[in-house]
């Protein structure tokens, strides 16, 4: 404590000496913080922050960049005499917003003893594999493997409707009865084929007997057999045609349209008496026990997303609920308009709460191929819009590194910038160093800590 007081006394004693120092060429006007942010120099008619008359040191920069009007002693690009239309302002914003200390600004204590007295504490920056989330819009859709879109098996007229939208049906449950001329034709064809088969069977038996007696030739027997097999094939064909549409082999020319899966009727696009064609979608049945969530992954994040990754979903229509699943499919093509690709996750829908076209947000947990560098939160200082971490370069010197903050893990926060794993970063006392770098930015000239 006594040493500290002596140190203060010595510095105070040195102060008058400092005050005696004079600027050799005082500028015409001392710059102010406000001047850098849009104030005009009334005397010279240019923006105060870039007034080369008030701040002659700026002239070297403009001259080095070739932006100089020798005649009037202003930057050529906004010389008030040559370009009065520009109002003495550069074309770009030169305000000091965000002008934190430069990356790499050094802070040096004059002695190691002073550094020790500052009571700085350090921690090692550490490296960890990163896991981050890709967040994208999501929408619920039907499970494409559990949707039945049902057409008439044969054109005809709807004679009866057995179910309506919303009805729960079993597999094979009747949906509608359709009377079809095609069914009648197939029934007639079956009848004809059966008769032909009867005749062919009898002819074959007779020819076979004659052959045994040596009356008929082998050729006749083969012809009779071929006719019998043709007739049998025709019968099978006609039966299959009727069986496919679910019509009886004889009688009424009507057939019953049935549901191929168990589920809920979601569409009925016909009515009694309506003529329906084979291409018409007349019913849709959906099994909602499982739904899909399609997540629109932006093009830029696609390389991070793959099958098997965990995803959590929140839906606008189901507040307070969070669903989890895994990615089962990532689309091979990017949508030309939205520049996104679909990543799909199936969701069990045991309570029926999920409905198609619900909108929400999906968070896919992805493993970033890069590793993250983490530092204690206390090591991060904010100065004029930028985040700084101070890295120890030697016992008495430190360097400010501009960083961008990433996700936090407890007391650690990931940073991107020129901080490496293993760097000694200042935790306790980093505020003191920040103060020093700001001292530089307000015009002190260097960052020596006495």
């Amino acid at each position: 404590m006594v040493r500290l007081l002596i140190l203060v006394a010595l510095l105070l004693a040195a102060l008058p000496g400092c005050r005696d120092l004079e600027e050799p060429e005082p500028p015409a006007r001392a710059p102010t913080a406000a001047a850098a942010d849009g104030e005009m120099c009334e005397e010279h008619g240019v923006l105060e922050a870039v007034c080369t008359k008030c701040k002659p040191a700026l002239a070297a920069v403009f001259k080095a960049k070739g932006d100089w009007c020798e005649e009037h002693g202003f930057p050529e690009s906004f010389c008030p005499s040559c370009h009065p239309e520009r109002g003495g302002r550069p074309a770009v914003d030169v305000s000091s917003a965000g002008d934190g200390p430069a990356d790499g600004t050094k802070v040096r204590f004059q002695t190691q003893e002073t550094a020790r007295l500052a009571g700085l504490r350090f921690a090692k920056a550490v490296e960890r594999p990163t896991s981050r989330e890709v967040v994208a819009t999501a929408r619920v859709v039907y499970d494409g493997t559990r949707v039945a879109q049902i057409n008439p098996r044969m054109p005809g007229v709807v004679r009866a409707i057995r179910v309506d939208v919303g009805a729960e049906v079993r597999a094979g449950a009747p949906l509608a009865v359709i009377e079809s001329a095609g069914v009648g034709a197939d029934q007639a064809r079956l009848q004809s084929a059966r008769t032909r088969l009867d005749v062919a069977e009898a002819d074959y038996k007779r020819t076979e007997a004659l052959r045994k007696d040596g009356v008929s030739s082998e050729r006749d027997l083969l012809a009779a057999r071929r006719e019998r097999e043709d007739a049998r094939a025709e019968v099978r064909s006609a039966r299959a045609a009727l069986g496919m549409v679910g019509a009886a082999p004889q009688g009424s020319a009507r057939y019953t349209l049935t549901s191929p899966i168990a589920g809920v009727v979601t569409q009925r696009n016909t009515s009694i008496g309506r003529l329906v064609d084979a291409e018409d979608l007349v019913f849709e049945v959906v099994d909602p026990s499982t739904m899909w969530v399609d997540i629109d992954v932006p093009e830029a994040d696609l390389s991070l997303v793959s099958v098997g990754q965990q995803v959590s979903l929140t839906l606008d229509g189901l507040k307070g609920r969070e669903f989890t699943s895994t990615i089962s499919y990532v689309a091979l093509a990017v949508d030309l308009r939205t520049r996104t690709a679909v990543a799909r996750a199936p969701l069990a829908n045991d309570d029926g709460a999920l409905r198609a076209n619900l909108f929400g947000r999906g968070r896919i947990t992805v493993t970033d191929p890069s590793v993250a560098v983490l530092v204690p939160r206390a090591a991060v200082q904010r100065a004029r819009g930028v985040h700084l971490v101070f890295v120890r370069m030697s016992e008495d010197s430190f360097e400010a590194r501009r960083v961008s903050l990433g996700p936090a893990e407890g007391e650690l926060v990931s940073v991107s910038g020129r901080v490496k794993a293993g760097d000694d970063v200042v935790t306790e006392g980093s505020f003191l160093l920040k103060t020093e770098t700001l001292r530089e930015s307000i015009g002190a000239g260097c960052c020596e800590v006495d």
Binding site: M1, G17, C18, V50, A102, A444, G445
Partner: protein, 110 residues
């Protein structure tokens, strides 16, 4: 309590010193350390000359935004500014590690 006192003492000394340097940085530096003075150009150094050199930041002194932050506006006005690192693009070794900023050679006879 001891740490708090240390901060107060150091902060107060820093404030005094910075106030001093703001008035006359070029003259105050030698009084604190001659090594520091050797790193910076004399006040009368001609821009673009060998003498116009900031040894601390390895750029011409007349172009050193870290020593003279008022130059920042001029670099911004000429489109030579790296927002990410707070330096002129032409001096930003983080963005362009191949960048070479060479000190002009001494004129013969010096």
């Amino acid at each position: 309590m001891r740490n708090l006192m240390t901060y107060l003492v150091l902060s107060s000394t820093i404030l005094f010193v910075s106030a001093c340097q703001k008035e006359a940085p070029e003259q105050a530096a030698p009084s604190s350390t001659s090594a520091q003075a050797a790193q910076h150009a004399p006040a009368d150094a001609v821009p673009g000359s060998h003498e116009d050199w900031c040894g601390e930041h390895q750029v011409p002194e007349s172009m050193c935004t870290r020593c003279n932050p008022s130059l920042v506006a001029a670099f911004k006005a000429t489109g030579d500014w790296c927002e990410a690192h707070g330096l002129p693009k032409s001096q930003c070794l983080t963005c362009d590690p191949t960048l070479k900023i060479e000190r002009p050679p001494q004129k013969k006879g010096h």
